[in-house]
C-alpha cells in the first residue's frame, strides 16, 4: 500500500518535470540558429512566400505567446505537425517509438542475461585468467564505437559471409509487417500467429541487437563485477560462509541481491538513454526509430517533433526511475518509502 502511494507520488512529479522540460526545449529550439520558415519554404521561395509561412507557423508572434498556444494545443491532444511531412507529431512519434522500444528492450534484456552472470563469475574468480579476459573484453566492448562495430558487422556478416540480412530495417524485402496491435513486430507476429513475419523480424533484429548487446553488456559486466567484489568483502558474507551455508546459497541469496542495487541503477539510466538515443544504430541499420526521427527533426529545425520527443523522453525517464526505486524496495527490505 505504501508502495502504491509512493508510485503515485512519483508519477505526480511528472507534472512539474514536464512543465520545466517543455519550457526549456521550447526556448532552446527557438534560440537555435536558422529560421524554420525559410527551411520549410524551400530553396525557391520568395520573401513573400516565407512571410506567409511565418504567419502560418505562428513564428511572428512573441515566444511566450507561441508557448501558451502550444500548451493549449497539447491539452486538446494536438502536439503539432512536422513541417517536413505534414503529419501530426503524436502519430509519428507513436509510429517510431515501438521500433526503438522493441530493439532496445530486446538487446538490453539479453545484455543483462549474459552480462550479470559474467560479472559475477569475474568477481568470484577475481585475479584469475578468466577475470582478466572478461575485463579486457568489457573494456573492448565499451571502447568500440557502435557505428564502427555496426558497419563492420554488416560488411562481414551480410556482404562477405551472406548469413545476415540486408540492413534495410525491421522486416525483410518482400515480407509485409504483421497486423498492427502493439507496434512491436515480434510480439504482433506471435499474437497473430504470423510465422513469416516472426521469422523475418527476428532475423532483421539480429545484427542491430548484436551491435547493441556488445555495447550494453560491457558496462554491465564491469559494474556487476565491482559491485559483487565490494559485497563479497563484507562481514556478513564472511559470517555466512563461516556458518557453513552452502556457497551457492550465500552467493545468490545474499551477495548478488545486495550487489544488484548499483547495477539496477546503471541499467535504468542506460535504458532511458537508449530508448531515444541510439541514433547511430538506427541510422546504420535503417531502423525507423525515435532517435533518428528526432535528430532529423533537429537538423531541419522542425520544432514540434523535437519538443514532443523531449517530453516523451522525460516521461520515460520518470517511469523507469520509479520502477528502479520500486525494485530497490523489493530487493532491499531496509528501504521503505
Amino acid at each position: 500500500m505504501r508502495l502504491l502511494f509512493f508510485v503515485i507520488r512519483r508519477l505526480l512529479q511528472l507534472i512539474p518535470v514536464l512543465i520545466g522540460v517543455s519550457i526549456i526545449t521550447f526556448a532552446t529550439a527557438r534560440l537555435l540558429p536558422g529560421n524554420a520558415a525559410i527551411m520549410a519554404a524551400g530553396p525557391l521561395a520568395s520573401p513573400e512566400d516565407i512571410a506567409r509561412l511565418e504567419t502560418h507557423m505562428k513564428l511572428d508572434r512573441p515566444v511566450w505567446e507561441q508557448y501558451f498556444s502550444y500548451v493549449n494545443d497539447i491539452f486538446h491532444g494536438d502536439f503539432g505537425k512536422s513541417w517536413r511531412t505534414g503529419r501530426p507529431v503524436l502519430t509519428e512519434l507513436m509510429e517510431h517509438f515501438p521500433a526503438s522500444f522493441e530493439l532496445v528492450t530486446f538487446s538490453l534484456f539479453i545484455a543483462i542475461l549474459i552480462g550479470v552472470p559474467l560479472g559475477v563469475v569475474a568477481a568470484i574468480r577475481q585475479g584469475s585468467r578468466t577475470d582478466q579476459l572478461l575485463r579486457a573484453l568489457s573494456v573492448g566492448g565499451i571502447s568500440i564505437p557502435v557505428f564502427w562495430s555496426g558497419l563492420v558487422a554488416i560488411f562481414v556478416f551480410y556482404y562477405i559471409l551472406k548469413i545476415a540480412p540486408a540492413p534495410i530495417g525491421r522486416i525483410g524485402f518482400s515480407v509485409r509487417p504483421p497486423t498492427h496491435i502493439t507496434g512491436f513486430y515480434v510480439l504482433d507476429s506471435i499474437l497473430t500467429l504470423n510465422g513469416q513475419a516472426l521469422a523475418s523480424s527476428l532475423y532483421q533484429m539480429a545484427l542491430p541487437s548484436l551491435t547493441l548487446i556488445i555495447a550494453m553488456m560491457s558496462p554491465i559486466v564491469r559494474i556487476t563485477r565491482s559491485s559483487m567484489l565490494d559485497v563479497l568483502n563484507e562481514d556478513y558474507i564472511r559470517s555466512a560462509k563461516a556458518s557453513g551455508l552452502k556457497r551457492r546459497v550465500v552467493l545468490y541469496r545474499d551477495a548478488l541481491k545486495n550487489a544488484l542495487l548499483p547495477v539496477i541503477t546503471l541499467i535504468g539510466g542506460y535504458y532511458g538513454y537508449s530508448l531515444g538515443g541510439e541514433v547511430l544504430v538506427e541510422q546504420i541499420f535503417s531502423w525507423p526509430g525515435m532517435g533518428r526521427y528526432s535528430v532529423e527533426a533537429i537538423f531541419n529545425l522542425d520544432y514540434a517533433p523535437v519538443q514532443a520527443f523531449v517530453m516523451l523522453t522525460a516521461v520515460l525517464y520518470v517511469a523507469i526511475y520509479t520502477i528502479v526505486d520500486v525494485l530497490y524496495a523489493v530487493i532491499d527490505p531496509r528501504i521503505r518509502y
Partner: protein
C-alpha cells in the same frame, strides 16, 4: 503449451517459406532520405517528388533520345521537344501571350473518375492558395493572377500570360510541382480547416499517373503498384519498392550484392572506389546543368571591385578541383549557362593563372595579405569541405587570406535568404533546363532565390526582360549570348565546375531514361 507449440510451428513454417528476395515483378530502390510530405504542390524533398513523379501525371513531358543515340550511353529526354501527356495538344495565340491546352479525352484515373479541365484548374488553384505552396513558380512562368486561367470547356483550358514566356511550356513538363491531381477524389477529403485537402494529400495520393500507393511504413518504405488502366499502357514494372537506407555505405553494399536494383545520391568518392568496377553494376556519369558556385558578395569592398573578382577567378585551380574533389566526375564550366542548355556559349575566359591573379590584385591596389575574405559553407557537405580547403590554399597563394566559416545548414539557409556572407559555396541545379530561367535566377537583381552575390546591373536586367518576351529565337539567342558575355566579364559568381550526376543501377535494368531533374519514371523500366 499448445499455444507455444503453435508459435514454434508457425516460426518453423515461416523460416521455411522465408523468401529473402523481392518478387519477380518488383523493382527495388534504396533511398537515403525519408519519403514523406507528398502533396505535389508543396513537396520540397526529392524523394517525395519522385513518388509524385510516378503517381501523378503532368500536362506535358518530353520526347526521349534512345540510349544508342545518346552521348552518355543512357537514354535521356530531349528538352527541346515537348510531348503531350495529359494534354493532347496545345497552341499559342496572340504571339505567345495566350496558351491553350487541348486535354486528352477518355482518360480514367484509378478512382474511376474521368480527367477533365476541372482537374487542371483545381491543381493550379491549390498551388496558388495553399500557404506552403510556392505561388512564385506560377508567377515566374508568367501567370500573375488566377483569373488569367480560363476554363473553356471540359477538355480545353486557357492561360493568359503577362507576356510571352519561354519558361511556361517547359515548366509543365519539368516540374513535379505542376502535377495534376484527381480533383473529384481529393475534394471528398476536404474539411473546413483544410479547404484544399493539403493535410490529406501529404499522407495519401489522389493518383492520376501510372502508379498508385500500395503501402507505406513510416520512415521505412513506400510501395507503389501499377495501375492497369493507365492511358498510356500497362506500366512495365508491376511494383516499385522504395526502401529507406540512410547509411550510404549500406546502399552501396545493397547495390553490389544485387539486393536492390537501383540507388542514387551516392557520393563521387564511393562511386569511384566501390562501384565503377563492381561486377553486375552499371555506372553512367552524366553532365548536369548543376553548378558548383563560389559566390562573391558584390555589394561590399573589396569584392565590389571587378578586378578583384577577376583576380580570384584566375586563382582557382579548376582542373585540380575536378580531379581531387569530384574524382573526375565533373566538367569545366565555361559559361553561366550550363553546357547542356540551349544557347550555351563558351565565354568564361578564366583559367588557373596565379601570376595573372597577382597582377590584377596589384592593379586593383591591393598588395599581398591586404585582403581577408570569409568563406562560408554548409558543414554537412563533404565535397564543399574539400573545396574550401583547396580554395583557401589557392587564394593564399596569390596573397588573399581566407577565414573558413563552417555553418550549420539551418543557419546557412538563413544567411542565404538574407544574402549575408562575404563569399560562400553553393551547389545549385535549375529545375528547368532553360537559359533564361537560369540567368534570371542567378543574376537578375529582383531574383529572390539564387542571386547570392546581390549582383545588380540595369543593363543585364533590361536584356533579360527583353529575352523573356522575345518570340524570335534568333533574337533571343543574341540576347542570351550578350548576357553570357556580360556576366563572364563581371564574374559575380565564380563557376567552379558542373558536377556530373552518377546514375548507378544493376546492369540488368532496361528502359531507364535520364531526366535533368534526376527524377525517375518507372513505367518504362524493366529488369532483364
Amino acid at each position: 503449451m499448445k499455444r507455444s507449440a503453435t508459435v514454434l510451428l508457425s516460426l518453423l513454417v515461416g523460416l521455411a517459406l522465408f523468401a529473402p528476395m523481392a518478387l519477380a515483378g518488383d523493382f527495388t530502390v534504396a533511398v537515403g532520405a525519408e519519403l514523406e510530405g507528398w502533396d505535389p504542390h508543396t513537396a520540397i524533398f526529392f524523394q517525395a517528388n519522385e513518388i509524385n513523379w510516378n503517381t501523378y501525371d503532368r500536362l506535358l513531358t518530353f520526347e526521349t533520345i534512345p540510349a544508342d543515340e545518346s552521348p552518355y550511353g543512357v537514354a535521356m529526354i530531349d528538352s527541346t521537344k515537348l510531348k503531350g501527356m495529359l494534354a493532347e495538344s496545345w497552341e499559342l495565340q496572340e504571339d505567345g501571350k495566350v496558351v491553350v491546352f487541348h486535354l486528352r479525352e477518355g482518360v480514367i484515373f484509378p478512382s474511376g473518375n474521368e480527367f477533365t479541365s476541372e482537374d487542371v484548374r483545381y491543381s493550379i488553384e491549390r498551388k496558388w492558395e495553399i500557404p506552403t505552396a510556392s505561388r512564385w513558380i506560377l508567377n515566374v512562368m508568367g501567370l500573375s493572377t488566377l483569373d488569367n486561367m480560363v476554363v473553356v470547356d471540359d477538355y480545353t483550358i486557357k492561360f493568359i500570360l503577362d507576356s510571352p514566356n519561354a519558361i511556361f511550356l517547359p515548366g509543365w513538363a519539368f516540374l513535379s510541382t505542376m502535377s495534376i491531381v484527381d480533383a473529384a477524389e481529393l475534394k471528398k477529403h476536404v474539411t473546413a480547416d483544410d479547404p484544399y485537402g493539403h493535410d490529406y494529400l501529404n499522407l495519401n495520393i489522389a493518383p492520376t499517373g501510372p502508379y498508385v500507393l500500395e503501402s507505406y511504413v513510416p520512415g521505412s518504405e513506400v510501395i507503389l503498384k501499377a495501375y492497369e488502366g493507365y492511358w498510356d499502357g500497362v506500366p512495365k514494372t508491376d511494383r516499385i519498392i522504395y526502401k529507406v537506407v540512410p547509411e550510404e555505405s549500406n546502399r552501396v553494399l545493397l547495390l553490389k550484392s544485387g539486393d536492390v536494383d537501383m540507388s542514387y545520391f551516392i557520393s563521387a568518392e564511393q562511386v569511384s572506389s566501390q562501384l565503377m568496377d563492381a561486377p553486375g553494376v552499371d555506372v553512367f556519369s552524366i553532365p548536369t546543368a548543376g553548378s558548383q558556385y563560389f559566390n562573391l558578395q558584390t555589394t561590399r569592398e573589396p569584392l565590389y571591385n571587378v578586378l578583384v573578382r577577376r583576380a580570384i577567378a584566375y586563382a582557382v585551380p579548376y582542373d585540380d578541383l575536378i580531379e581531387n574533389v569530384m574524382y573526375g566526375f565533373a566538367s569545366r564550366a565555361t559559361s553561366p549557362v550550363p553546357t547542356l542548355t540551349a544557347y550555351h556559349k563558351d565565354v568564361y575566359p578564366y583559367d588557373y593563372n596565379p601570376t595573372m591573379a597577382r597582377d590584377l590584385l596589384a592593379q586593383a591596389g591591393y598588395g599581398p595579405g591586404e585582403i581577408t575574405l570569409t568563406l562560408s559553407y554548409r558543414l554537412d557537405n563533404p565535397d564543399e569541405e574539400a573545396l574550401a580547403i583547396y580554395l583557401k590554399d589557392a587564394l593564399e597563394d596569390v596573397g588573399i587570406n581566407v577565414v573558413i566559416d563552417k555553418v550549420a545548414s539551418t543557419r546557412f539557409s538563413e544567411m542565404r535568404g538574407a544574402q549575408d556572407y562575404e563569399t560562400s559555396l553553393l551547389f545549385w541545379i535549375p529545375y528547368v533546363n532553360n537559359p533564361i530561367y537560369q540567368l534570371s535566377y542567378g543574376y537578375h537583381s529582383a531574383s529572390g532565390c539564387c542571386n547570392y552575390g546581390r549582383y545588380s546591373s540595369a543593363t543585364f536586367d533590361a536584356m533579360l526582360d527583353a529575352a523573356k518576351a522575345e518570340t524570335d529565337p534568333v533574337k533571343q539567342e543574341g540576347l542570351v549570348n550578350a548576357m553570357q558575355e556580360l556576366i563572364a566579364g563581371e564574374v559575380p559568381i565564380i563557376l567552379l565546375y558542373h558536377p556530373n550526376r552518377q546514375i548507378t543501377m544493376r546492369d540488368n535494368v532496361e528502359g531507364y531514361v535520364y531526366w535533368t531533374n534526376f527524377l525517375v519514371r518507372y513505367d518504362a523500366i524493366t529488369k532483364n
